[in-house]
Subunit: 127 residues, 2 copies
DNA sequence: GCTTGCCTTAAAGTTCACTTCAAGGTTTAT
DNA sequence: ATAAACCTTGAAGTGAACTTTAAGGCAAGC
């Protein structure tokens, strides 16, 4: 699969795919005789994993660390598990914080009607 | 309330508070005779609102737009409601996307055990 | 056979959201 | 009264994650 197809499949730019590979957030993709990237099943899984991690709010740096461990082989499996669990923990926290903020804002919006009856000076309390 | 107290109360740096005010993400805070910022109840509410929005993942630019409408007075109440609803909608989407990614990763981690029995080449599918 | 479109790399540029710096003025404690 | 601990502004700097540019190679259609 060529880079542009992958880009369309996952809705991420080719530039981002090249960037991730360059910095080591995904392993190196092999090239065809023309020097073009040719993504195989495994490469696509890595791309999918990177997107998932990024969407969850995990930094590119953590991806780089993870891939670095992966490249070192089987003996890093436990370290990878630990890293993943650590990340999941912080994703879970961010998620909770975001949910709390969302609920707070949602409440404000749902009670915004009162403001119409109010005057400018009192608006701040509900923003 | 002085800037450092506000900073401690909300766990956000004084620099960030000054930055938000400078770019217009919160309304201007009045100063005392020495030229120091003196946050009143309303200012604190705006700070709290800004933190809530930022935690929910709303950009500083949207805050600026919101404050800009607020400064124009009562006739922008509807526009502000619309803006807030628009933002809540996209926060809700980000939240869902993040939750989905989290679930996907959580599943991987919970089933990671299999990898130990597996060999390096098959590791990618589960990353 | 040549144009249009996709691909390559390395390097420089951009955006966002702060953060730090420089050069001061004020206030508080000793 | 003087040092330490605050505060001010404007401007420059930072870090993360891309994005764009430059200069070119390959490939598919007419």
């Amino acid at each position: 699969m060529k880079i542009n197809e992958v880009s369309k499949k996952f809705n991420v730019t080719s530039d981002t795919l090249r960037y991730w590979e360059r910095v080591g957030a995904i392993p190196r993709v092999s090239r065809d005789q023309a020097g073009y990237r040719n993504y195989d099943e495994e490469d696509l899984n890595w791309v999918s994993f990177a997107i998932c991690m990024r969407d969850a709010g995990v930094s590119v740096e953590y991806l780089i660390d993870y891939i670095s461990l992966f490249k070192q082989g089987k003996q890093t499996v436990q370290a990878r598990k630990d890293l993943l669990n650590e990340q999941l923990e912080s994703v879970s926290e961010r998620l909770a914080k975001m949910q709390a903020s969302y609920d707070k804002l949602k409440y404000k919006v749902d009670h915004y009607e009162h403001i119409d009856k109010d005057y400018q000076g009192k608006m701040a309390s509900i923003n």
